[in-house]
């Protein structure tokens, strides 16, 4: 007698899934099964990542094909959202509300009563390190704080599946490191998460399982390390907004991982051949405060575009 371990049921399953916006194809004939755990959805801007995430969160109806999330069709099935948390890409809030009031109000839509919703909201804000700002109006939050607030509303009801659309965008290095740790821990706790990004390096720090998407098609599924070598052949660009960009640049140039530097208004754009080493140093510099406050780190999608050009050749 032989026994075989059953493959874990996919948390997201799509069958020939397509989405058109009039004449424009957003997603094209995608058949994919996303296993439990943390999965990165990697692709340049306009690749179809957000369309894919909107389809799997029931915000869009498929033009063709099917989507099942946690075993059930998602379109027009609001009950499923008790088990799903979604952090959208757009920077949109009820700016007149405080962070605590907003997250609590959304939790009340999940059926929690007033005390339970405020308690759960406070817990979520603590997880994203926004406790101190919980009573302040969202309109006064920095971009990084707003990003963390979006994350808080997504995790506050403790969902089985978390869907994050570019969650690290606009975060400073410290908050970025914290968010990455939160995402990794989410997976380690046996829950599932799908996270989109156009920065391979970010995804790689969260998970090794990726879906590679471009022009509305899934190009590859599997282990991130397989394309890692490809991306290392291309210089990686990082845009840093800081109070003292020249002081920061001087410190960054002390190591050989920086290929070039370009100054902007209150910012510096760095080209590096070793993103791992570079991001490590940048986080350490931010934590030490040696180069003054660092407000935002973004990575244009040029890095990934180069890899995709190579892959689709």
């Amino acid at each position: 007698m032989s026994t075989t371990a059953a493959a874990p049921a996919a948390v997201i399953q799509t069958e020939r899934l397509s989405k058109w916006y009039g004449q424009v194809i957003g997603l094209n004939d995608v058949t994919v099964a996303v296993p439990p755990g943390v999965t990165g959805l990697l692709g340049p801007n306009g690749a179809g990542k957000s369309t894919f995430l909107k389809l799997i969160t029931g915000q869009l109806r498929p033009s063709q094909g099917t989507v099942r999330v946690l075993g059930e069709p998602i379109w027009n099935r609001p009950a499923l959202f008790r088990r799903i948390g979604f952090c959208p890409e757009q920077d949109a809030f009820y700016d007149r509300m405080t962070g605590l009031d907003w997250v609590a109000a959304l939790l009340r839509l999940n059926g929690l009563d007033e005390p339970a919703s405020r308690e759960a909201a406070a817990r979520a804000l603590e997880v994203v390190q926004l406790t101190d700002a919980a009573g302040r109006k969202i309109g006064g939050y920095s971009k990084g704080m707003r990003q963390r607030l979006k994350l808080a509303q997504a995790i506050a009801h403790d969902p089985e599946l978390l869907v994050l659309d570019e969650p690290l965008s606009g975060l400073d290095p410290i908050a970025r490191r914290h968010a990455i740790r939160l995402i990794r821990d989410w997976g380690r706790n046996g829950r599932s998460l799908i996270v989109s990004s156009h920065v391979l390096h970010e995804v790689e720090m969260m998970t090794s399982d990726i879906l590679l998407i471009n022009n509305g098609r899934i190009l590859a599924e599997g282990n991130v390390h397989q394309i890692r070598d490809l991306i290392d052949e291309h210089p990686h660009t990082v845009h840093i907004r800081a109070d003292q960009p020249r002081g920061l640049a001087r410190l960054l140039l002390a190591a050989d991982d920086v290929l070039s530097l370009k100054f902007g208004d209150g910012s510096v754009t760095v080209e590096t051949a070793k993103p791992d080493v570079f991001y490590g140093r940048l986080t350490a510099l931010a934590a030490s405060g040696e180069a003054g406050p660092i407000h935002e780190v973004t990575s244009p999608d040029d890095n990934l575009q180069a890899v995709f050009r190579y892959l689709v050749k």
């Binding site: 029931g58 869009l60 008790r82 949109a92 009820y94 839509l109 059926g111 929690l112 009563d113 339970a116």
Partner: protein, 280 residues
């Protein structure tokens, strides 16, 4: 306490609607649109105060064809011409068509549509917030106009029941116009133009023409419930009175209820089945 859910795991419809109402009311009250609301309802109040001041300074009151219009009649004219035929439809158009459109434009709709609540409850909750917001500002303004205009020529004790009817009428107007325009807002991509054409094109034209078409307006049913007699001194109004075929109050009330509830249900159904693509 655990989450309050229905058998299928959703937050029950009315619980969800009330919670969307809670979330939306503050946003609505503090929106830029409230400035429009204040200006609109402030205008009749300013007009009433101006008329009262003119009377206080010994100037003759308002006259139609040489006949002095008494306070209660003047109040009736303000209610019908300014409030019911102008303020109420304008508020209905601007708020009703924006119930979902505002959330889409602000890109906050995502947070509401990714919660375990029926989408229709989002529409109904926001509709209730619209009603509360507009009624909270409009009804006190009507009461102020009443107390400013009526006393010089009429008895408050005798006319107070009419004020109560007027307040109910305006609330009904806000509810029914709001419901119709909520449906138009949920259904069409450019609802504002359609709403304005209905309120200030279709309704005035059809109301002035004898025949069955006036049954396809909201004003027709509201008109039958106005407690004050309209001034009948001009030739035009005399002619209009010949063709006036107002429904009974009971028919009007039932019709308004059917229109209001019907369009609200339709709006909720549209929101439930429609996808909203947010601009990047």
């Amino acid at each position: 306490m655990g989450p309050r859910t229905g058998l299928d795991g959703r937050t029950p419809f009315w619980t969800a609607a009330v919670r969307v109402f809670d979330l939306s009311l503050g946003e609505m009250l503090w929106s830029r649109r409230t400035i429009l609301l204040l200006l609109l309802v402030g205008a009749p109040v300013v007009l009433a105060i101006a008329i009262r001041l003119l009377q206080a300074f010994g100037l003759p009151g308002m006259q139609v064809q040489g006949v002095r219009v008494a306070g209660p009649d003047l109040f009736g004219v303000i209610i019908w011409v300014l409030f019911i035929r102008f303020v109420v439809p304008v508020l209905g158009v601007f708020y009703g068509t924006a119930l979902i459109a505002d959330e889409v434009d602000d890109r906050t709709i995502t947070y509401l549509f990714t919660r375990p609540i029926p989408r229709g409850a989002v529409l109904v909750g926001k509709y209730l917030a619209y009603l509360a917001c507009t009624a909270l500002i409009t009804l006190p303004a009507v009461a102020v106009v009443y107390f400013v205009i009526v006393p010089p020529g009429g008895s408050i004790a005798a006319t107070f029941p009419k004020l109560v009817v007027d307040l109910g009428l305006i609330a009904a107007g806000l509810a029914v116009y709001g419901s119709l325009f909520a449906f138009i807002g949920a259904w069409l991509n450019r609802p504002l133009i359609v709403g304005l054409v209905f309120a200030f094109g279709w309704e005035p034209i059809v109301m002035a023409v004898p025949g069955y078409l006036r049954h396809l307006t909201i004003a027709y049913y509201l008109q039958a419930l106005v407690p004050q007699a309209m001034p009948q001194d001009s030739t035009v109004s005399l002619l209009q009175s010949l063709f006036r075929d107002l429904p009974t109050p009971a028919t009007s009330l039932v019709s308004l209820a059917v229109i209001g509830v019907g369009f609200l249900i339709l709006a909720a159904r549209v929101v439930s089945s429609r996808e909203y693509v947010l601009e990047p």
